[in-house]
Amino acid sequence: EPPGKDMNEVEEKSKDTIKFTSEKLSVDEVSQLVISPLCGAISLFVGTTRNNFEGKKVISLEYEAYLPMAENEIRKICSDMREKWPVRHIAVFHRLGLVPVTEASVIIAVSSAHRAASLEAVSYAIDALKARVPIWKKEIYEESSSSWKRNKECFWATSD
């Protein structure tokens, strides 16, 4: 069904919401931001902190970001998503500072008229975020050691 057939389309602008916060993230809050009466689908990805890495017990994680650039890079990702898929609203929230195990570090929500667009777009978004948004995670282990992590998707550095 071509997008032009949707009713009220001109009345509702597409919006991108990007937020960095040290507060606990809420899946409900982020999904509310993308709800649209024109949409039948919302797809979400929630990144949560795991309790282990290579056999070491992770107590918590700490995130820092190069803020204005991180937001700009996410804006570019939103723009890429809109070129590739007919999505309506996009929301990307990333937590900063200490994040306890099992809590969300990132939530991405995308709405679309039909489900394939938002499902594919949200998958693209988390891949792209991991590859090029300047955010760093430091894992804090039980044995009082810590380590800066690297995403395998990071586009300039390969694992050694």
Binding site: G47, Y63, E64, A65, Y66, P68, M69, A70, N72, H94, S105, V106, I126, L129, K130, R132, V133, P134, I135, W136, K137, K138, W148, K149, R150, N151, C154, W156, A157
Partner: protein, 88 residues
């Protein structure tokens, strides 16, 4: 001689831990290849030699690899040292 300018260098994550600072203002030639700029920064913080193959610049918030690309810098420009990212 190429004129020099004052640029703001930002350090993040592991590069901030090695340099021991989060930012500093340094004087650099206004025309300089990316790798030469890295060498100037490494001279100030020799510990950074360990991460030469892992970092990338962000010059005015755009990624630039540490290679032959010529940077045209203005005073006040922001240059970030970006270690491997791990967001998400």
């Amino acid at each position: 001689m190429v004129p020099r300018g004052q640029v703001e260098v930002l350090y993040f994550a592991k590069s901030a831990e090695i340099a021991g600072i989060h930012s500093e203002t340094i004087s650099v030639p206004q025309e300089i290849k990316a790798l030469q700029l890295w060498n100037e920064i490494e001279t100030r913080h020799p510990g950074l030699a360990d991460v030469t193959n892992q970092v990338i610049f962000a010059v005015r918030q755009e990624y630039v690899e540490l290679g032959d690309q010529l940077l045209l810098l203005q005073s006040g420009d922001e240059i970030a040292i970006i270690p491997p990212i791990s967001g998400g």
